[in-house]
């Protein structure tokens, strides 16, 4: 795989401008990593050392309860950062696992190396701030949806957000992400199909 560096540079530049010399330095840090479907990027209990950028594919972040039940906390798609971010920031074991749901192409970067960029040029400090802010907003939106929206509204938002990729996510994973049982999700899907909404 040869990463499409231009598309990636454009995606990151849309957040904050990265001068060409800095972009060249960044490219030196990044190594390609292919994950086959069902392979893990990190497992709960391991301490994260890397961040990655998703070039293609689809991944899930999930918690495992002491009883072995799984809860999907979020999904990652193209051009999003992938990391057990709290684990990296606090140098503590990850609370959750990250697994590829389809064959996925990633760019792997040691977090230590990425962090060293902060002292090299302000653009990286700014990128770090913007990514942390985005992650925070994403989590706050999810918290609100879980607390305030009924399951059907949450499912429609899920379809809107993950669009075509939603077809690759098994229904029990979707149900777990929505915080409902697979049976409740089937009921919602039947109801929506009868109404003739986008999911039909």
């Amino acid at each position: 795989m040869t990463p499409d560096w231009n598309a990636l540079h454009a995606a990151i530049n849309a957040l904050t401008p990265i001068p060409d010399t800095e972009w060249e330095a960044f490219k030196q840090l990044a190594a390609p990593l292919n994950l086959a479907r069902h392979e893990h990027f990190i497992r709960a209990g391991e301490t994260g050392q890397h961040i990655a950028l998703c070039l293609s594919g689809l991944l899930r972040l999930y918690y495992t309860t002491p009883d072995g039940d799984e809860f999907n906390k979020s999904f990652c798609v193209r051009h999003e950062f992938i990391a057990s971010y709290s684990s990296l920031l606090t140098d503590a074991p990850s609370f959750f696992s990250i697994q590829a749901l389809t064959d996925s192409e990633l760019l792997l970067i040691r977090f230590r190396d990425f962090r060293a960029l902060y002292d090299r040029h302000t653009c990286w400090e700014r990128l770090g701030r913007l990514v942390a802010e985005q992650l925070f907003v994403k989590k706050e939106i999810r918290e609100r949806e879980l607390l305030l929206l009924p399951a059907e509204a949450r499912y429609l938002l899920f379809l809107e957000r993950y669009g075509r990729l939603a077809a690759h996510i098994p229904l029990y994973h979707v149900a777990s992400y929505l915080g409902i049982t697979p049976v409740a999700l089937s009921r919602i899907r039947r109801k929506i199909t009868r109404k003739g909404s986008p999911a039909s």
Copy 2:
């Protein structure tokens, strides 16, 4: 009220060093704001314009459902930042309200002014990144606790985290923060008292 600038400077310096000239610029932006018990900093539906620093007191951040039920999402104590941060970052109405639970002294700063500091000196960019990272870690920890820990363990963590201040938080607010009913919380408290744990 005269803010204890030295204590505040020390608290922020513990995150990242702020040079004296930058600290003077920051002080020019900040105005004292006293909130009486039960007064609001922001209400759901309003678009945030300010961030604040808590100098003393205790505040809660809470959601209101369409039925008028309230869910406490978090609390804010001394030297923590207070803001409807997603509202500020996305320039959208706040999803939640922030209310003082005790008389509280704040320092108020227009977010526009704070953001202008980012271009002035790297120390502010770094502070912005670190605060966003801390907020993110805090939310991820809370998500994990809600998904994986039983209510009793969540209550013990709450006591550990908010210590002495917990006495100022009415029990129905604590129950709402823990995601349980006040009746369930009373049961947990009785059980802990019988065991002779720190809450007794």
